[in-house]
Amino acid sequence: MSLAWVLTLGALLFSLGIYGVLARRNAVLVLMGIELMLNAVNVNLIAFDAWIRQGNATGQIFALFIITVAAAEVGVGLAIVLLVFRRRETINVDEVNLLKW
């Protein structure tokens, strides 16, 4: 199997993620889109690590980092979504556009 296949998988995952982030109106699904993107990056990192061996497994370490950060991020994100829902009874991102003047 060549590296290109794995990278293509990563690219597809990433595109799916972008689609989710940009097009979905449900905040939870947007967060899931972000997860997809992060995991696409993970796939890339692992793939590069496996194909270009330099011995110190930097790619895998980074992947671990990202998994950790992603978990934290989802935690905070879901908490915000929960709070928004309690306040406004909606998690539709179109209706949560307070960040303007």
């Binding site: 972008i18 982030v21 940009l22 097009a23 947007v30 991102v93 179109d94 949560v96 556009n97 307070l98 960040l99 303007k100 003047w101």
Partner: protein, 631 residues
Amino acid sequence: MVAVLLAHEEAHATAQAAGFFAGNAWLIPALPFVAVGVIVFFGKRFRGKGAEVGIAATSISWLLSVIILVTRYVGGGGPVVLRSVRWFPLGRDLGLGLGMRLDGLTSIMFVVVTTVSLLVQIYSLGYMHGDRRYTWYYAALNIFTGSMLNLVIADNLMQLLIGWELVGICSYLLIGHWWEEKPNSDAAIKAFITTKTGDIPFLIGVFVLFAAARTFNITEIIHQVEDGNLSHVTLTAAAILLFGGAIGKSAQFPLHVWLPDAMAGPTPVSALIHAATMVTAGVFLVARLFPVFEASPQALNEVALIGAFTMLLAALLAMVQDDIKRVLAYSTVSQLAYMMAALGVGAGNAGIFHLFTHAWFKALLFLGAGSVIHAVHSNNMSEMGGLRKFMPHTYRTFLIGSVALAGIPPLAGFWSKDEILTEAFRVGARTIPAHGSPVVGSIVYGVGIVTAFLTAFYMSRAVHLTFQGEYRGHGRPHESPATMTGPLWVLAGLSLVAGFAGFPGWQKGFGAWVGVGGETRVPEAHLLLIAVSVVVALAGIGLGRALYARVPARDPLLRLGWFHTLLVNKYYLDEFYMRGIVRPIRDRVSAAIGTRKGGGILRYLQSGDVQRYAAALFAGVAILAFLFTKF
């Protein structure tokens, strides 16, 4: 040319060689500034509230000026004294100096400025007595005096420009001295902005000269002009631009509109700044850089024509004023135009001679008017009349000033005005070589004669309306105190004799050693021309007497019909400036861009929609990725 060559040879003239006083002439402008510091910080602790400090400093300056003038005169002119110190470096091979250039022109201007300033300060002891900003008034007068003297002594254009701007701000401060009333501060702003408008061409003119000559030093610039190092185009451009500054400062058409309004200031200020000294700075500038102007016939013609146009325009306006100070203000504009016209036809010495004599009698007239205003508490001649009985000193001195201005021999104004007219006539008749064109010379002569008639007429009118007939005002006017009449008599004396300094044919007279632009021409006189100007002046006075000897119920000038209306409205120029320029810029343009409309489009960018932001982000990344692969 002689002076310039001298200047070059004597460029290293040291303080010793020039004599102590000439070598240290920089003290003359420095002293008033020292006085300012003392007055501002300690003025109120003095018995005279600071006035004595200013008077003392100006007296010393005056004394030094007189000594320098006398020693220079006795020495037959003497060398041009140049001294300078490096002020600050400016880039790799450039610097700006702070220096002095002492020649005939400078020493004459010194005497004019310090004398009038000293007399005005003494006069103000009485006139401004009890004013709530008395101490500040003296401080401002001394800033002005120092700045004006600095302008005169400056050996480089930047230093001259500094004096030039400083006298402008002093004019602003003093016109608006009684700023509790809005018209006064309006007038002050108008004066500053109008002259500042002229200062921009002036500044650019200085830059043009600098770009070509690579120096600000006046002596070096003149030397380069004489050597023909600077192209004709450069010199024409520079001269015309510099003249823009002179138009503003010396209140020539079309920027003359500020001077009449400047009369809102205290009358002694009008005498000092707006009659005798600051307004002559424009004339001085042209005289100082006369070789630059002479090198360009076009520029000279412009100077002469603007002068000729302005003198007539202003003299006509002076006829219809009721405010005595405005009569004098328009008269000043008109007389400054005489000086300009003289310079424009190439008669630099005659122009400066007129500046010299005019300073005395116009300061006298203003101070006399101030004395009258002090007595009747009004500026309007319709509320005066018959003051001859109440104020004998003021009456006599004012009369002397008026006759001098009207041009009746042997008073000062006659000699200088007649020298200008004679020179213009001779340029027109091609009897002397001139840089200007003969046609222009003839125009200046013709307009000058008409203006001489009008001048005599409006002064006659003013004297009759003010001093003759019955008193029409309120209360009982009284003669002013000695601190005010004293300066009047001094100036009256000068107005009587100053003209002889330029007696035609006198080899050692005024023009022979002031040497504007290096020319030392001895004035000549033609009996026929003298006769013409005297007859014209007498006719003007006679007409004024005929019309106003007994105050008419209806102003006879109303018979001029629409022309009178035009004059009363000052040719609608003020209206035009206000409606055409000031209000559109101040109120409309600024409002259009000053309100928050610009952000309207950008506002749509900030929708608050996170997904739209994210889309922009990804688009940006894509573009960057594309660019990176390409480069």
